[in-house]
Structure formats: structure tokens, C-alpha cells
């Protein structure tokens, strides 16, 4: 049952890896998040060195997002225009993010910053989503069919120049908006080593005002390119992509993603958001717990030059 992973330099039970891949893939397909924020901690927990977990996670996220995008594509739930704008911003952002990552790694504080980022973003995003979606659900439950949702709210962000029509999302907004969102996600992606879907999905819903069903496919579309970029960068700079580990995670992951997409299609938008919010909050609380409780061992080891 054990298999030796050549890059991670570790022997692991391959059945566990299939299960981990499948579970994360299911959530990925259901919510349109890459699942990196779950995959990376899980792999580290299994004993995979953190850099290998981040690098290999990217390859796995790529596979599940290809699978997910194709499933959503058939349902016409991908806004390519919006996806391209987000991706362009994301590439620029990741350049800045990688530079910040290097500086932090040299200072030996990258682990702490990653954790704090996770706690702040997971907590903030999860909390806001939970409040909003619970309110929507409650409103609909008390007055079914009465309320008709406006396509989107109008505020100062709609006054920005370079306005573009995003047909699929039924939006007429400045192209700077998705670029800026993509840029911010790109920075975080590089620092936190995740696809950023759990931040991107709510950002698309609440900042860009996209319809929830469209958000998932489009987010996966953007994630696909970010993950491909990270896979190449990690392979070239750190040699931390373990193909064997990736294949095992992918086999579980692609199956999980398909099942997740089907399952997600049966749920209502706000139900989907409540579940994602709970998941995000749960992971955030778990990480916050580690930050504040007294560690079992005050000391930690790292190979020279790594955080």
C-alpha cells in the first residue's frame, strides 16, 4: 500500500492520497475553489515538506480546475472575458507576491505570515459570507417568491473608466475592477501558495456583482491559468513538484470534482455559499487555534534557506 514519492522523499500510503485528493476535489467542484487552502495543510500534515506540498498542490489544482471548467463550460457557466481580465491581473500580482515571499523566507517569518494571512482572510471572508447568505436564505424562507433580486447594486466602483460589457455575467463595469481583483488575488496566491479561489469567489460575488452560478465556472477558469503558472515556476525555481504525488491526488481529485459539480448544481446559490462559508471559517479557526495555543515544542527545524 505504500509508495515512495521521489521528490517529497517520503513513503506514504497511496490509498490515503487518493482519499485526500477525492475529498478536496469534491469540495473544489462544488464551490469552484481550487481547494489549495485545504490541500496544502493536509499534505503537510501527512509529512510532505511544505515547499513540495505547495508545488505539487498547484499541479493537482490545475487538473481539478480543468475538469471543473469543462463541466461548467457545458452548462455555459464560464465568462471567458471576465476570466481573462482576472487572469491578466493575477499574473502581475503573483510577480509582486513571489518577491514578498522571498523576503519573508529570508527573515524566517514566512510560516507566520502565511498563517496570519490564512486566519485573517478565511475568518473575514467566511464570516461575511455566512452572514450575507444566511440573511438571504432567511428572507427567502419568510417571503418565498416575493423578493426579486436586482442584477447588481450600483456604487462608486461603477464610476471607474474603461467600461466593458461582460455579456455572460450581464455586467457593464470597468475593466480595471477585475484586473485589480485579479492582482490582489495574485499577490496572495504567491504568498500563501493557494489558488485563491476561496477569496476570489466571494470577491466576484460581492465586489464584481457576478451571478453566483457564473462565478464558480469563471473562478475555476482563472484558477486553471494561475495553477499552470505556479506549477511551471515551482518546477523551474525549486524543483518541488512531485509528479507521482500529483498523479495520485489528481486521480482522486478529478473524480471528486465531477461528483462535486453535480452535487453543487442541485443546491441553491445561498445554500452553496453558507456551506462554503462554514468550511472556510472552520479552517480559519483551526489555524487561529494553532497560532494562540502554546506549541508542544518551542523549537522547529528548517533546512538552511527555507522558512
Amino acid at each position: 500500500m505504500h509508495v515512495y514519492l521521489p521528490i517529497a522523499e517520503l513513503s506514504v500510503n497511496w490509498f490515503i492520497l487518493l482519499l485526500v485528493g477525492g475529498g478536496v476535489g469534491f469540495l473544489s467542484g462544488m464551490f469552484g475553489v481550487g481547494g489549495g487552502f485545504l490541500m496544502t495543510p493536509l499534505l503537510i500534515f501527512l509529512g510532505v515538506p511544505a515547499p513540495v506540498a505547495v508545488g505539487t498542490g498547484a499541479a493537482q489544482i490545475l487538473a481539478s480546475s480543468v475538469s471543473g471548467v469543462l463541466a461548467h463550460w457545458r452548462r455555459q457557466n464560464v465568462d471567458v472575458q471576465m476570466g481573462v481580465a482576472l487572469t491578466a491581473g493575477g499574473f502581475l500580482g503573483s510577480v509582486l507576491g513571489i518577491w514578498i515571499f522571498t523576503v519573508l523566507r529570508q527573515a524566517g517569518q514566512v510560516d507566520l505570515v502565511i498563517r496570519i494571512c490564512f486566519v485573517l482572510f478565511l475568518g473575514g471572508v467566511g464570516g461575511l459570507m455566512l452572514i450575507e447568505s444566511a440573511r438571504t436564505w432567511f428572507r427567502q424562507a419568510t417571503a418565498p417568491g416575493v423578493r426579486k433580486r436586482k442584477l447588481h447594486e450600483h456604487h462608486w466602483l461603477h464610476g471607474l473608466p474603461l467600461k466593458l460589457r461582460f455579456r455572460r455575467s450581464k455586467l457593464y463595469i470597468s475593466a480595471l475592477l477585475p484586473l485589480a481583483v485579479g492582482f490582489a488575488i495574485g499577490v496572495l496566491t504567491a504568498i500563501m501558495g493557494v489558488g485563491g479561489g476561496f477569496i476570489l469567489v466571494p470577491a466576484m460575488i460581492y465586489i464584481l456583482g457576478m451571478p453566483t452560478q457564473m462565478v464558480v465556472g469563471t473562478s475555476l477558469f482563472q484558477t486553471l491559468f494561475v495553477a499552470a503558472n505556479v506549477t511551471i515556476l515551482q518546477s523551474v525555481t525549486n524543483q518541488t513538484v512531485d509528479v507521482l504525488l500529483a498523479i495520485l491526488l489528481i486521480v482522486g481529485g478529478v473524480v471528486g470534482a465531477q461528483l462535486g459539480t453535480r452535487f453543487g448544481a442541485r443546491l441553491r446559490g445561498e445554500q452553496l455559499r453558507i456551506l462554503l462559508a462554514l468550511l472556510v471559517l472552520g479552517v480559519g479557526l483551526r489555524l487561529a487555534f494553532d497560532l494562540f495555543t502554546t506549541p508542544a515544542d518551542f523549537y522547529s527545524l528548517a533546512p538552511e534557506g527555507q522558512g
Partner: protein, 245 residues
């Protein structure tokens, strides 16, 4: 098979003029191959002494610069504060012996020959400047390596067959590092080290694992591209397969 090999080797050793050398020892294998199914390995050493005495076997893995960081509390959060670099900390350090080492050698002797986790030389590059901190950081390093099964001390794992023939066994865990290991077989008599015989042991990836590792390191851009293609193809296949169901 192992038994026949051992007996053959012992017969060969026994026929040699042992008086000339106080200690003759060898490994059952000089290469530990890490293949796709690797879950750790046992290395077996055997040999003969020229008379009564105790045998200690020390296996030292290739050194790797390692930073030990200490966490401290800052505004309620645990953050890394002080750190210490151990420039040539061994990645593996195993001791097996016929009796507990502190029963057969004095601390001074153990220090001089660097036998045992408490006596092996583990120092930062500028030991004078950090004199007071060293014991704590050193202990933390040893503790972490012991947790991973990479620093081990097992008395009783050297067994004598009669008075002169001995056999030793040491376990390398699955997460062992690759490289050239140093195996020292030490003969102790009357609280003194009589002789030390040193043999290299190669731990190396073989076959698929080795090919993947070399590919990733020598042709990394192409490797990354292949990884992307595999991932994308897998995703596409899954989507196509599930469409028909």
C-alpha cells in the same frame, strides 16, 4: 538467503588470520536502494573480533545545514524568535551496541570518539558567541530528529554468536536522506577504544524514483511542462468520462 550469506561470510572471516587484526567487519549490502516501494531498510553488519570485548556501530548520514528556530510569544501569538544554524548537522545518526554505551566507555571517551547523540559534535559556526544558548538548541535539534526516527540509540542490537563473532542490525526509516553514509564499527575493551573500522554505505534512489528526481532537477522547465500536460489531460479525461455516465 540472508542466513546463508551470513554463514558464508562468517566462515570466510573465521578462516582469516584474525590475530593480525583486532576487528574485521562488513555490511551485508553497501547500497540501500530507494525504489518506488521503499518503506525503510534494515542494514546488517557482521564481523569478528580477536577476543572478548564490546562492539559499537555508529552510522552517520550526510550532513545538511539546518536552522533551529525558537518560538516566543509576541502579542499573544507564537512567532519564531531566536535561531541557530547547525552547518553540518548529520541527517541520520544511529548507534547500536552490545551494551549501553555509557556502561562501556567514559563520557570523555565518548566525546573524543563522538559516540552517541549526546556526544556527537553539533555546533553553530561561531560557538563562542552563543555559548549559553547552544545546549538548548542542540537538544531541540536532537529531539526533532529523534521524533522522525533519524537519530536512534539502540543498545542490544549487536549480538555475539559465541565470544568473537557478532552481528548488528540497524533500521533506516522511510524518510531517510540519500547520500553517502559512514558506518563505523568500534571495538571496545576495558573502557578503551581498541580500533575503529570505517565503511561507506550508499543510500540512493534507483529506477523510477531516481529517473523522476533526475528529470526534475536537470530538465526542470520540460518537467514542469510535462506535469502541466499530465494534469490537464487527467482533468480532461475525467470530464469526458463523466459526461457519458
Amino acid at each position: 538467503m540472508m542466513r546463508a550469506l551470513l554463514l558464508g561470510a562468517l566462515a570466510m572471516l573465521a578462516s582469516m588470520p584474525l590475530r593480525a587484526q583486532p576487528l574485521v567487519a562488513d555490511l551485508s549490502q553497501h547500497l540501500v536502494a530507494i525504489t518506488a516501494g521503499f518503506t525503510g531498510a534494515d542494514i546488517v553488519m557482521f564481523g569478528a573480533t580477536d577476543g572478548p570485548g564490546d562492539v559499537v556501530v555508529v552510522v552517520t548520514g550526510p550532513p545538511k545545514p539546518t536552522i533551529v528556530r525558537r518560538k516566543g510569544r509576541l502579542a499573544g501569538i507564537w512567532v519564531n524568535r531566536e535561531s541557530m544554524l547547525f552547518a553540518d548537522a548529520p541527517t541520520f545518526y544511529g548507534v547500536v551496541s552490545s551494551k549501553p554505551i555509557d556502561e562501556i566507555l567514559s563520557p570523555q571517551q565518548l566525546d573524543r570518539h563522538q559516540i552517541g547523540v549526546d556526544h556527537v559534535r553539533l555546533l553553530p559556526p561561531n560557538p563562542e558567541a552563543r555559548r549559553d544558548d547552544i545546549p538548548e538548541f542542540r537538544e531541540a535539534l536532537v529531539r526533532a530528529r529523534q521524533r522522525d526516527g533519524l537519530f536512534t540509540t539502540e543498545p542490544g542490537k549487536v549480538t555475539f554468536l559465541g565470544e568473537r563473532l557478532f552481528r548488528a542490525r540497524m533500521t533506516l526509516p522511510a524518510r531517510v536522506n540519500t547520500g553517502t553514509y559512514r558506518v563505523q564499527v568500534i571495538l571496545v575493551r576495558d573502557g578503551q577504544v581498541v580500533t575503529v573500522q570505517t565503511t561507506p554505505l550508499l543510500v540512493s534512489k534507483i529506477g523510477f524514483s531516481a529517473d523522476v528526481f533526475d528529470f526534475a532537477h536537470h530538465d526542470s522547465a520540460f518537467y514542469g511542462l510535462i506535469a502541466i500536460l499530465i494534469a490537464a489531460a487527467a482533468g480532461w479525461t475525467a470530464a469526458a468520462a463523466f459526461r457519458r455516465i
